[in-house]
């Protein structure tokens, strides 16, 4: 009894400590915020003559220009000191590596929170234990990567300071209070993470488990705020606010943070991080699966890979919608910027992005079809897979066909016009919307098949339910394809509106068919157990493909977002006068992204390998405690 009370006391103390850590940055940063925010008032009292008035370039409000103007840099060792190498590429590398690790360590705790919660609420004790172990495994992976994130952050700062001192000096003069809060938040994040990880065993049961779970919530709140602050810097670089035309800070730090693109960037990055994190954990599971020597290990890592993939894809599906929002805000902020992205200099990169999205969905489907193989009774669906392959390929080929792109006169002549006489018909938005919606709907159908793979519905209305689902999917396909064809016969301004019913059709499949399927499968008769671990090796390569493609796409989109500023460090405020103020070719960008992706994966595989060395030395727990020790038929997926 006394022991339990001690545990409770420990838990509450830990929670209080974490709340304290959470509040600490705000408390400490208040004085520094005050310097930024209150200074204009103080200055007003002294006399407004001392500072000129300036007008906010975005909010259009007036304020005293208390900051220094953005430096007008010149190409030379003072503003752009360098090695015998392109500084921009070095910075690109340092930034991208830090972002990869940072995204991973921010995403994994969210997974842990979700999985730990699933473990707490599930009534099946064996499953609860497995979920708990899985969440613990996840956070263990994240912990190793955490220190690397911090090291890479340090390298990034040094790279900025040594290669772009004038630009970084300006940025830090604007974001001075924010940077301090950021650093302190990082301390809070570290403290919370360590307490969360090392307190796992102490708070395993009952009320203490809830305390532990609430810690993961706090951990994620800190992590998310941390990311939001970092996003405010890139938001400012793309769509500056809170400064006047000369780049002088006008005293309102909230304006500087809350720029035109901050909110959509935040949402897009959260979803992107989650999808990426899912990919990395799935790749880890695939590696462990392939390296496993026992059936038990294989079963555990097969299951782990499936959960990570499902979580990753769950966040991948809304990601395009967040992307649309971001692009809409980009267009609203500067139409020119949007056109540079989608129809100008960077348009080919969006063709690559479309290819990547297709690869992600194809890999997901392939994995699910392979996963049907570990279920007894799923054979009835496997014979239809060839049709899904056909549908997916058609949708994919249409989706990656380019439309309006910058061409040289020679290319234009060779093509015989702006569009190819035949393929050009597939390049228009009407066809593309049809293509991607067909792909997503097919993925939803694959998931539905997977969820009912080894089951036979026993509800009285199962026949009706099956017919209804079949008709619903058939109507969905017909509607999507019909609207795509109809789009060719109506003016562009009306055609734009067709994407709404197309997306609504796809989302209807997602939101109506999943719950309907779950209702039909309640108490279903199982044709056989899911034989975790009995999945083809190829499926694990699909997971690795998924992870690599996620990583590559993240690098690609980061590059696009950054290069859309063209020759501005801070858009329309601080010009880039370095010798690298031009946009690289698509090929160079692809090489660089590949280099970054491979460096990240080689380094993280090395970390995984190091982790496996440590595991070998750890005392072997009792068989029942081995993660996934008892492969069980999953009651649900």
């Amino acid at each position: 009894m006394g022991r339990v009370a001690g545990k409770k006391l420990f838990s509450i103390m830990a929670l209080v400590a974490m709340v304290g850590l959470l509040l600490l940055p705000i408390a400490v940063s208040l004085p520094s915020l005050a310097i930024g925010a209150d200074a204009p008032d103080a200055v007003k009292k002294e006399g407004e003559q001392k500072y000129e008035k300036g007008r906010d370039v975005y909010y259009k409000t007036e304020g005293l220009a208390i900051g220094a103007p953005a430096p007008k840099t010149v190409d030379g060792p003072k503003d752009y000191p360098r090695y015998n190498f392109e500084s921009r590429v070095l910075l690109w590398f340092a930034n991208q590596q830090h972002l990869y690790y940072g995204s991973f360590v921010l995403a994994v705790p969210i997974f842990c929170m979700v999985i730990e919660f699933m473990g707490v609420v599930t009534k099946d004790k064996a499953m609860a234990k497995r979920y708990d172990q899985l969440a613990y495994d996840f956070i263990k992976i994240s912990l190793t990567a955490y220190s690397l994130t911090a090291i890479l952050g340090g390298i990034l700062i040094f790279t900025f300071l040594t290669l772009y001192p004038a630009f970084f000096g300006y940025l830090s003069s604007i974001f001075r209070p924010v940077m301090h809060i950021y650093a302190l938040m990082f301390v809070a994040e570290s403290g919370t993470l360590y307490i969360y990880y090392y307190g796992w065993d102490k708070m395993r049961d009952g009320f203490l488990k809830w305390i532990h779970l609430s810690m993961s919530v706090i951990l994620n709140v800190i992590g998310t705020l941390l990311m939001f602050l970092a996003n405010s810097w890139i938001g400012f670089m793309m769509s500056p606010a809170g400064v006047d035309e000369q780049g002088r800070f006008l005293g309102n730090i909230w304006h500087v943070i809350h720029t035109a693109l901050w909110n959509p960037l935040n949402v897009h990055r959260i979803l992107g991080n989650m999808a990426f994190g899912g990919g990395v954990v799935a790749a880890y599971a695939a590696y462990k699966f392939l390296a496993s020597k026992t059936d038990e290990d294989r079963a555990h890592y097969d299951w782990m890979g499936y959960i990570a993939m499902a979580l990753g894809v769950a966040f991948l599906i809304p990601l395009p919608f967040a992307g649309y929002w971001l692009m809409r805000e980009v267009y609203a902020y500067r139409q020119q910027m949007g056109i540079t992205l989608m129809g100008g200099l960077l348009a080919w990169l969006f063709i690559i992005q479309a290819t990547m999205i297709g690869i992600l969905f194809l890999s997901t489907n392939y994995y699910l079809w392979q996963a049907l193989g570990r279920m007894r009774g799923a054979e009835k669906y496997q014979r239809y897979i060839k049709y899904l392959v056909f549908i997916l390929c058609c949708g994919y080929l249409v989706f990656i066909t380019p439309h309006t792109i910058v061409m040289t006169p020679a290319e234009l002549k060779a093509m015989g016009g702006q569009q190819h006489p035949v393929l050009g018909n597939y390049g228009v938005m009407s066809a593309k919307n049809g293509g991607i919606n067909v792909i997503i709907t097919t993925t939803i159908l694959s998931f539905v098949w997977y969820m009912r793979g080894n089951k036979v519905s026993t509800v009285s209305w199962s026949k009706f339910g099956n017919i209804f689902m079949g008709v619903f999917f058939a109507c969905a396909y017909v509607n999507i394809i019909w609207l795509a064809i109809y789009g060719y016969y109506i003016p562009a301004n009306v055609r734009v509106g067709l994407s709404v019913p197309q997306v609504a059709t796809t989302l209807s499949c997602l939101f109506f068919m999943f719950p309907l399927n779950s209702a039909m499968m309640k108490g279903a008769k199982q044709m056989g157990a899911i034989e975790w671990g009995k999945i083809s090796v190829r499926s694990q390569y699909a997971l690795i493909m998924l992870a690599t493609a996620f990583t590559w796409m993240m690098g690609l989109m980061g590059y696009i977002r950054s290069s859309v500023r063209l020759f501005w460090h801070v858009n329309e405020i601080m010009r880039d006068n370095s010798p690298w103020a031009y946009t690289h070719t698509v090929g160079f960008a692809a090489n660089m992204i590949s280099f970054n992706v491979l460096f990240f994966w080689v380094s993280i595989l090395f970390v995984f390998w190091l982790g496996s060395l440590g595991m070998k030395k750890a005392p072997v727990p009792a068989k029942a405690e081995v993660p996934g020790g008892a492969p069980q038929p999953a009651a649900g997926h």
């Binding site: 007008k72 790749a283 695939a286 590696y287 392939l290 390296a291 139409q335 020119q336 056109i339 540079t340 129809g343 100008g344 200099l345 080919w348 063709i351 690559i352 290819t355 990547m356 309006t404 792109i405 910058v406 061409m407 006169p409 290319e411 234009l412 702006q418 003016p491 562009a492 301004n493 734009v496 390569y541 690795i544 493909m545 690599t548 493609a549 590559w552 290069s563 063209l566 020759f567 329309e572 010009r575 103020a581 031009y582 946009t583 690289h584 070719t585 698509v586 090929g587 160079f588 692809a590 090489n591 992204i593 590949s594 992706v597 491979l598 994966w601 080689v602 595989l605 995984f608 390998w609």
Partner: protein, 437 residues
């Protein structure tokens, strides 16, 4: 190849040194022949793998800065090395195979990126603030020629158009076409005499004018000398319209010319001084001083309306194109100055009367059917394109031939032309105009 091997050895000598050490160790420490044979074999495979790996790295390094379609070969080599090592080192097979597979995926994506057409964003226009006030008259005139025609010595080139866009309507030499606006040959001499003495100009009495605008701004008055006349005609084109050059249907009361200091052209006073200086010097006439010209413009352009000389912004004259196709359609129409002569439903400010109303969704099919039509277009899009790049192919009555410049085909990018065609083909008489995008 020898260069590649040399580079590989330079990069990878520590690895080869390590392999050599292991080789010696396996000879010295091998206990039995079988173990020795096995370790030697593994060393051989490892060396082979290392060679492949280093060759790949050397190849990657050598072509890193190029859009090289062979570059992904490096990554495929690494994949091959990883899979080969995976076969002979089973303890690390999973790691090697996964790594190899990732290299293969990256090779595919890199190859794809290199296979696509390579578009590179060039350097931004040089940031240079020209010190017009410190220039000699000739330097000023050179800058003026650049603004008008896009380059020094281009004034006799048909179709040469600079930031000022003047040659789209004006001719500058005797015999050159310029039916939309007066030929500016002899303007400095004409300005102070013929124009100011024309009763319609109503010198000193702006209220007596019969044009749309009486004064450039309230209280600005009228010009007192030739330079002031030029300044006034630039800043307030409808204060005086030369007979025969007004907007059709306005009885020459309204000029089709935009105020030169306002968008879309927006020349600064300094740039206008350069333009005017060229107008004088090219005829061998001494130009008024820089300060005098600036003063003449200050008389007709209130301070609040004076565009600032560009500093951080890229110079608009850098591109030879009027529009590159990245702009929204209304900007393309404005930059190409279509709006000055045509009424285009849905486009703000496009109320020109010099040419027909551009309801091409309705007009084009009828014109193709017209027996007088001798062009090659078969559909609306082709007709519009033909009308832009070859306006004399079919001239809509009662508008005169040769009024529309013939160089739009070379002054607009393919993307811009495509946008214009797309938009105009959707404009139909009696229907709401398409959305601007």
């Amino acid at each position: 190849m020898s260069e590649l091997i040399k580079e590989a050895l330079t990069i990878g000598w520590p690895l080869f040194a390590l392999l050599a050490s292991l080789f010696i160790y396996s000879i010295v420490a091998g206990k039995d022949a079988a173990a020795k044979k096995s370790s030697m074999f593994k060393l051989f495979i490892g060396t082979l793998g290392a060679c492949l790996l280093l060759l790949a790295i050397a190849h990657y390094k050598g072509s890193f800065y190029e859009a090289n379609r062979m570059l992904p070969v490096s990554l495929v080599l690494i994949t091959a090395a990883c899979f080969m090592l995976g076969i002979y080192f089973p303890n690390h097979a999973a790691l090697l195979k996964i790594g190899g597979f990732m290299f293969l995926v990256a090779a595919g994506l890199s190859g794809y990126g290199n296979w696509l057409p390579q578009v590179e964003g060039g350097f931004p226009p040089k940031e240079e603030k020209l010190q017009y006030e410190a220039m000699t008259a000739q330097q000023l005139a050179d800058e003026g020629e650049k603004i008008i025609f896009g380059g020094i010595g281009k004034n006799k080139e048909q179709g040469a158009v600079g930031k000022g866009q003047c040659p789209l309507c004006h001719a500058f030499h005797a015999g050159m076409l310029g039916e939309r606006a007066p030929n500016l040959q002899g303007l400095p001499a004409r300005a102070g005499k013929e124009r100011l003495e024309d009763p319609k100009y109503s010198k000193g009495n702006p209220k007596g004018r019969e044009f749309d605008d009486k004064e450039a701004f309230p209280g600005s008055g009228t010009a007192e000398n030739g330079q002031e006349y030029i300044a006034e005609s630039h800043s307030c084109p409808s204060c005086y319209v030369v007979s025969g050059y007004g907007v059709k249907g306005t009885n020459d009361k309204t000029s089709p010319m935009p105020a030169i200091h306002k968008p879309p052209i927006s020349l600064s006073l300094q740039e206008l001084a350069a333009v005017d200086t060229w107008l004088y010097l090219r005829e061998g006439i001494d130009a008024p001083s820089y300060d005098e010209i600036i003063k003449s413009y200050e008389k007709f352009i209130p301070e609040a309306d004076r565009p600032k000389q560009q500093e951080d912004k890229p110079a608009g004259a850098a591109s030879a194109l009027l529009a590159d196709g990245t702009e929204p359609i209304d900007v393309i129409f404005a930059k190409s100055t279509c709006i000055l002569c045509h009424t285009i439903p849905g486009i703000p400010g496009a109320t020109g009367k010099q040419g027909p109303v551009l309801e091409e969704g309705t007009n084009a099919p009828n014109r193709i059917k017209d027996p007088a039509y001798k062009g090659t277009a078969h559909n609306t899009q082709e007709y519009i394109m033909e009308s832009i790049v070859s306006p004399s192919t079919y001239v809509v009555k009662p508008f005169p031939d040769n009024l529309m410049p013939k160089e739009f085909g070379t002054k607009l990018s393919a993307g811009a032309l495509k946008k214009i065609v797309d938009y105009l083909s959707q404009v139909k008489a009696g229907s709401p105009p398409p959305k601007i995008s």
